[in-house]
């Protein structure tokens, strides 16, 4: 029987400092992953936590980690060449095949961009697979902006309509205001068929979804991704359970029509 709790060590290839508080770790890995999935990352003595895949390439995956907890603090001390312990990938991905041939709206806040970034890159590299992509990426302020290079790339892609926005301040190339303030710019009523992916803090996802509905989107076209505490990610430890639903098994990506009926 496979030991689902046993991690394997993977070598860190490089560390990229995105902001003061967010680093991207590129780690040796050549298995399959799907857009929106996550791994259980750990370092001995510090512990384990679920982290979304923020990037993927030949022979590696990337994780963008915010320095907030004990584990993430520990990971920040690691250098290229060090080992990171991994289990996964876990979780239901975004149903990207269903997104193809339609319009796609991606709304993300802060590190919420990490779980949708491989999908954004995919469509940026294969623009023929979608009609259009509306990206609204919100950050707290200019010092918190992540993935600057890729954002530039998205802005150059003709199929993409990219809006980057700062919560309360202004900067060249950025709008001002919460992501919700820019949702009315999305022409939902002109779309023949579309999907919306929203990832960010719970409050942001809640209001962004409501704003989309107000602007003509329908519930079952909206997808959200949950961040939860997990000690196993395989349906055992109980931490991520909401009602009868285990976020690790049935999520983290949920259709909004289901997500709105999960009561914490």
């Amino acid at each position: 029987m496979t030991n689902i709790m046993l991690p394997t060590p993977h070598r860190i290839l490089s560390v990229l400092k995105e902001t003061q508080a967010e680093y991207t770790f590129r780690v040796e890995y050549d298995g399959p992953t799907q857009h929106g999935q996550f791994f259980q990352l750990s370092i001995p003595k510090v512990g384990e936590a679920p982290i979304s895949v923020s990037g993927k390439g030949e022979g590696y995956v990337e994780f963008t980690i915010r320095k907030v907890g004990r584990l993430t603090q520990g990971i920040f001390g690691l250098q290229p060449g060090d080992m990171l312990f991994m289990r996964g990938p876990y979780g239901k991905p975004f149903p990207v095949d269903d997104f193809k041939g339609k319009d796609l709206v991606v709304i993300c806040g802060g590190t919420g961009m990490a779980p949708v970034k491989t999908m954004l890159n995919h469509f940026c590299d294969h623009p023929e697979e979608i009609n259009s992509l509306y990206l609204i990426a919100g950050f707290k302020d200019i010092n918190c902006v992540l993935f600057t290079e890729e954002l530039e790339k998205f802005k150059r892609q003709e199929k993409f309509h990219t809006i980057t926005t700062l919560d309360n301040s202004s900067a060249p190339g950025f709008e001002t205001g919460m992501v919700t303030a820019h949702i009315p710019k999305v022409p939902f009523r002109d779309f023949a068929d579309y999907n919306v992916a929203i990832v960010g803090p719970p409050v942001m996802m809640h209001f962004a979804a409501l704003e989309c509905l107000k602007n003509g989107a329908v519930e079952d076209k909206i997808w959200v991704s949950f961040e939860r505490k997990m000690s196993c990610a395989v349906g055992k430890c109980g931490h991520c359970k909401i009602n009868e639903t285990y976020v690790c098994l049935e999520g983290p990506v949920f259709n909004y029509s289901r997500a709105k009926n999960l009561f914490d």
């Binding site: 001995p44 000690s231 349906g235």
Partner: protein
């Protein structure tokens, strides 16, 4: 032939499932549950055909299935759209009375039988006749639970088999989609199998499991022999290790019969035997991780009461059937041999009868203990050699049939009502009252949640081990993510989460007729703040009823 494992639970479950199918139309949760169901191999041809037909329907039905089934239900069982009322009216009296009328002789006899058993229709079902197939099947499930084969045989021969064959033929005639045709076949095939099984049971073809009377000192010898191949665990006394210098009773390895504490409820449940409070999963260095192997390869005999035994099935669902199987649990679970400790009297705060966990049939040996001897019923042949030299007796273990306290579980209709329950002010009372100690989870036989903890051997190295340790959904940081955010922010919310898991969520997820809580009442015994879980559950049921009343 010897009964090593009983089929009690699946039989009762199938009766209940069929009862549900005849009672009202199929709804979405039921359809979803049916799609997930794995049908067993059946020897009976009608039953096998029914299963195959149902599988075929469920695999191919589209989004309009619920509507189709509702229409078919109305056509077949309610004579909807039929000018002359031709249908398969699922009431015995209609089939057995000369003029095909309701409430004739058969109905009278059924009413009499229910009354003798002290049974009455629930108010939700007062529109159904007592001899409606749904009620007759439910009655059979009850008899299975009560282990009353003579009564089952009587009811099967004198009622169900008198009319169900014709009813099933009619269902076949009036049903348009395969679903109800399949359900009809399953019902008929199952009842035919039941007839055979009950004939064997009551004729004595299946002989009663051999039973022995064993004097205490002889039992100690048997335990010594067993311990060569097994580790034997039972509730035992640990002096002065409980709160305020009291004795603690928890599961541990025993050497002699007198080690077993059988007159008191153990403070901890039996789960720690196969799911330890803390266990090392693997050792690590900075560069590698290696799985911890078992230190003792011997099998385990677990001497436990029915509530704790019934709890194992619930833990199995989490560790073995919720996603992939867990190796650490599974390798211990496979070693378990259950000796059921007969439990005929109720302790304080027990409410097993009202949640159906007072009985249990899944054991290798049942034992009744008193100060001078033990009576043992041997169901598993592997254990016969240990007892063969003892004095044969007639012994059937008994179960507690009445507790001083009872649970009244809430009936939650749908998602919308669940949402309303989550918003009830009712939960706020626990914000202050509960001190988040997690004691209730620790003593619970069905709580399964854990944390992982890394231990290093010295400060400067990366060598150490990762353990998993019981966790508790009542701890304030149970849902806390790295940034410090909490999914559930108050003790009221945590209490709601725990209670609904025990009496709603688990059942919704895993189906069947069981809820997670097994009614041992240990959480009530344990709470330092006097929070009474049973009052909390019953209070929720009342709060729900009050909210409903207000709404109307």
């Amino acid at each position: 032939m010897m009964i090593t494992k009983s089929e009690l639970q699946p039989r009762a479950d199938l009766y209940r499932l069929l009862s549900r199918l005849y009672r009202v139309e199929v709804d979405q949760p039921l359809l979803d549950a049916l799609k997930e169901l794995r049908f067993p191999q059946a020897e009976n041809e009608t039953l096998a055909e029914g299963y195959a037909m149902l599988r075929g329907y469920l695999d191919s039905c589209g989004p309009e299935a619920l509507d189709d089934l509702a229409v078919d239900y109305a056509t077949v069982f309610l004579a909807a759209g039929s000018a002359d009322g031709a249908a398969a009216i699922p009431c015995e009296s209609v089939y057995t009375s000369p003029k095909k009328l309701f409430m004739q002789e058969a109905w009278e006899d059924v009413v009499r039988i229910y009354r003798e058993k002290n049974l009455a229709r629930e108010t939700d079902h007062s529109d159904l006749m007592e001899d409606h197939l749904a009620l007759e099947l439910e009655y059979m499930s009850l008899l299975v639970h009560q282990r009353a084969p003579q009564d089952e045989k009587y009811f099967l021969e004198n009622h169900l088999l008198n009319w169900v064959p014709q009813l099933v033929a009619d269902i076949d005639r009036y049903a348009r989609v395969d679903f109800y045709k399949a359900v009809g076949r399953i019902t008929l095939g199952f009842l035919q199998m039941e007839e055979q099984l009950l004939a064997a049971l009551t004729d004595g073809t299946l002989r009663q499991a051999p039973s022995y009377s064993v004097r205490a000192e002889r039992m100690d010898k048997i335990l010594a022999q067993l311990k060569e191949r097994y580790r034997v665990f039972a509730p035992k006394r640990i002096p002065k290790r409980g709160p305020k210098g009291t004795d603690l009773i928890r599961y541990g390895e025993i050497d002699r019969l007198s080690d077993i504490v059988y007159k008191e409820k153990s403070h901890f449940s039996a789960k720690e035997v196969f799911y330890p409070i803390s266990q090392t999963m693997f050792y690590f260095t900075g560069e590698s991780a290696s799985q911890k192997e078992l230190e003792d390869e011997r099998d385990i005999i677990l001497i436990a009461r029915p509530c704790d035994i019934n709890a194992i099935r619930r833990l199995d669902n989490i560790f073995l059937h919720n996603g992939q199987s867990d190796l650490y649990y599974s390798r211990m679970r496979e070693k378990l041999h259950i000796f059921m400790l007969e439990c005929r009297e109720s302790f304080d705060n027990c409410f097993c009868v009202s949640v159906g966990t007072n009985v249990c049939d899944d054991y290798s040996v049942a034992i009744r203990i008193d100060d001078i001897c033990a009576l043992a019923e041997i169901r598993d042949e592997d254990f016969l050699p240990y007892f063969e030299d003892e004095v044969p007796i007639e012994f059937m273990p008994e179960f507690v049939t009445q507790n001083r306290r009872n649970a009244r579980l809430p009936k939650i209709r749908d998602r919308q009502q669940l949402g309303e329950i989550c918003k009830l002010e009712y939960w706020n009372q626990f914000d202050e009252k509960c001190i988040a100690c997690g004691g209730c989870n620790t003593v619970c036989p069905t709580c399964s949640c854990f944390d992982t903890v890394d231990i290093i051997y010295d400060e400067t190295s990366r060598d150490g081990e990762r353990r998993r340790v019981w966790s508790s959904c009542m701890l304030r940081d149970f849902t806390q993510t790295a940034g410090g955010a909490l999914a559930r922010k108050t003790q009221g919310a945590n209490m709601r989460f725990k209670v609904l898991h025990k009496v709603y969520d688990y059942n919704l997820r895993f189906g069947g007729s069981e809820h997670m809580c097994v009614g041992c009442g240990r959480c009530i015994d344990r709470c330092p703040e006097g929070i009474d879980y049973l009052d909390t559950v019953n209070g929720l049921t009342d709060a729900l009823a009050a909210a409903e009343k207000e709404g109307n």
